[in-house]
Point group: C2
Chain length 338, copies 2
Amino acid sequence: MDEHVTNIINDLKKDNVQAYLLTKFTNVEYISNYRPTSFAFCVIKEEPIIYVSSMDMEIAKNNSSLEVKEYESMDVMIKELKSEGIKNLAIEPSLPFGSYEKLKDDFTIDSKTYIDKQRMIKTTLEIEKIKKATEIAQKSFLQLDILNNKNTEKEIAFDLVRLMIENGASKESFDTIVTSGASSSLPHAIPQAKRLEKPILIDWGAIFEGYCSDNTRTIVYNEKQQEIWDIVAEAHDKAIKAIRPGLKCIEIDKVARDIIADYGYGDRFIHSTGHSLGLDIHETPGFSIRDETVIEEGMVITVEPGIYLEGEFGVRLEDTVAIYKKANVIGDLPLKIE
Amino acid sequence: MDEHVTNIINDLKKDNVQAYLLTKFTNVEYISNYRPTSFAFCVIKEEPIIYVSSMDMEIAKNNSSLEVKEYESMDVMIKELKSEGIKNLAIEPSLPFGSYEKLKDDFTIDSKTYIDKQRMIKTTLEIEKIKKATEIAQKSFLQLDILNNKNTEKEIAFDLVRLMIENGASKESFDTIVTSGASSSLPHAIPQAKRLEKPILIDWGAIFEGYCSDNTRTIVYNEKQQEIWDIVAEAHDKAIKAIRPGLKCIEIDKVARDIIADYGYGDRFIHSTGHSLGLDIHETPGFSIRDETVIEEGMVITVEPGIYLEGEFGVRLEDTVAIYKKANVIGDLPLKIE
């Protein structure tokens, strides 16, 4: 049996939990190599099984490392689990309340993050895939020739995705952000059908073999923009330098946040300093003012401070780091694009 | 106040529920015109309010028809709701269990589908947007010149999305399916880097002003494929003809399913006959073997029977219908592409 599955079974035993229900597509994929396309109920127990939608049976049989069985109904699944003597069931915190309600009369239920904790620590192979996704994304960015690009934000976003796919990505890892001028002050701006204004902020990533990349660059043009860029770059660089196993995530957030606050823009840094990524673009832990998770080797986390001046412009700079004894930036795209 | 909000408040009053928490992005958008980009807690009550992530404040203030307030923490939000005397709280069935856990000690909680029920019945404006999305998608499909297209499945999928965006879509409404040959037997096949084999199955849709479209066409080339196509087309046509307000969804599913079963392919029709769409690509109700919902005027639902011969090929034909006294097919793309 796969190491991921064995680890989870050991977690279950420690807590005297009889079975762990996984439904989130990337959790099922992580544990079985099969990514559902409609729904699936993966039950980790001594004899793990995935109840698969009939329309996914063919793809599941081809890809899953765990036994698959066609899902008939919630009642049948519950009956089968109970017939094995299962009385307590762990669920993911992300399980919809409606699904919990269908299970709560038959099992003692507790939410557990065993799988999230395991997914926090990437294997060498997982890091290789994130690196490859990053390389594809960065190469594609350079091919865009953004400084001489006369297309609209929307067209550029589209061209960037096309380049990433031509370069081997399966798709973009999230809706590509190409924004410019005043709308760059929206952290999640939607590309518009307008020619590029200044500054230009691009936040983009690729998916390679299921794994995501994530980068942001902001290209600035005048003194005020450069001044803000320098502050964000300092926060970016010093936060990355501060990362090491044993520190808490919140401490890295504080490094970036304090620098920006010292320059007087504390209230204009309106999001966290970073998030983990992997099969999902947003995973735990994150560099945030709430996350007390201790940093460990094998984590892959973004560092993306930003300053957003409403009605004027915004600057964000983002790299993804793989954490060993220290943080290694993934990819080699310069921070300064000019 | 917007009619959608007033209707929900009336639902709450009828059930003596003091407040209704909406977190699903499209629910928040439906009710306020603001689509969150990270998270939001929209509380429908006498004085509705949306707690907005700090990074979304600017966009929320610009777009929301409801009052917005910067989210500080779950504790602050709970305290404010309690200070208004709120003791019972309705939630969406889709709310993650982890969020429910944070609320359950402070409120009596029940899941309610008020908003889903309201979203089932589309306004004239909503239907216009779905029509426009469908027109964009169908026009783009014809521009592909699929019969003479020498590109790979993956390239064709990409070209179709590019055309939809050029024709006015904001994006695709789901991952475009271009599949051919044996892999067409996978209902949710992923486009491959291979030239088109036969038959060719394309399942695609556009988003226009937030609203989705959804169509499928299968192009067949030999007698066996044509025989299967004819059965699916008969199920498609007769199911659409059978639709009228007052019948139950399950009855329409039965029309399509019985035809396919009569020809001996009952166990090869491995999904439901259709699903509603709107701001989401999958909404309720659906034409399925479990859905007892009574059909009403204003519903917009797909009809998409299919037959999947594992290892050989699959055929699916899909149109979206708007339901008035009978079902009107949206768009005018012929079922038979040749």
